[in-house]
Symmetry: C2
């Protein structure tokens, strides 16, 4: 898989419409014992990661993650930038994530926030 | 240790004047089985990482790594941006690294290049 394909699979998981779609994408694209960590949360395993994604989906209804720029990668590592916001307006939230892949699946993610509005 | 302290220890290792100084900094600030990976090289253990740093020192004599902006971090993770260039002129090379710390030491580094001149 290319850096772009991994980034697309990753953001598709975050953009899943509901818990069932999210679980299907976690099952397809992530390792079972994947780890996700960002400044707010640490989640281990696809069940915890699914709950983390659900919490963001509920906090920001109608928002979507969009790839910002082009992902790049080397070896098992991919970095990407993203925005999070409602459709059709400038996205208020931006971040950068580094993904480590194992056996073609997302295995470890370290996320950072690049822009957060004061009210978020 | 703060994100800034970890970033400073990391770049000090890269800026070591010679192999002996580098080995001392690796011994002080890195885990023995630390792993370093960037688009050109993967090194496992402080001996291989020291050799990687020596290769850069020999390829770019008189160049120094300088912190660009302010590092940020959460949990065991720190990200920083750096420049590499000769003293007193605009640095031609820039990168971003994500460091994972274990027991207060640098344990894993995933590096990315942000700007590389065509001739490098």
């Amino acid at each position: 898989m290319t850096a772009r394909q991994i980034a697309d699979a990753y953001l598709a998981t975050w953009n899943a419409a509901d818990a069932q779609a999210c679980a299907a994408l976690l099952d397809r694209h992530w390792t079972r014992d994947a780890e996700y960590v960002d400044p707010m949360v640490a989640a281990a395993g696809t069940a915890q990661i699914g709950a983390t994604i659900a919490a963001v989906r509920e906090r920001f209804p109608g928002f979507a993650f969009t790839l910002l720029g082009e992902p790049d990668g080397h070896g098992d590592h991919v970095r990407l930038r993203w925005t999070l916001g409602p459709a059709g307006v400038p996205a208020p939230i931006e971040g950068s994530d580094v993904i480590t892949v194992r056996d073609g699946r997302i295995d470890r993610v370290v996320g950072f926030l690049d822009r957060v509005p004061a009210e978020a």
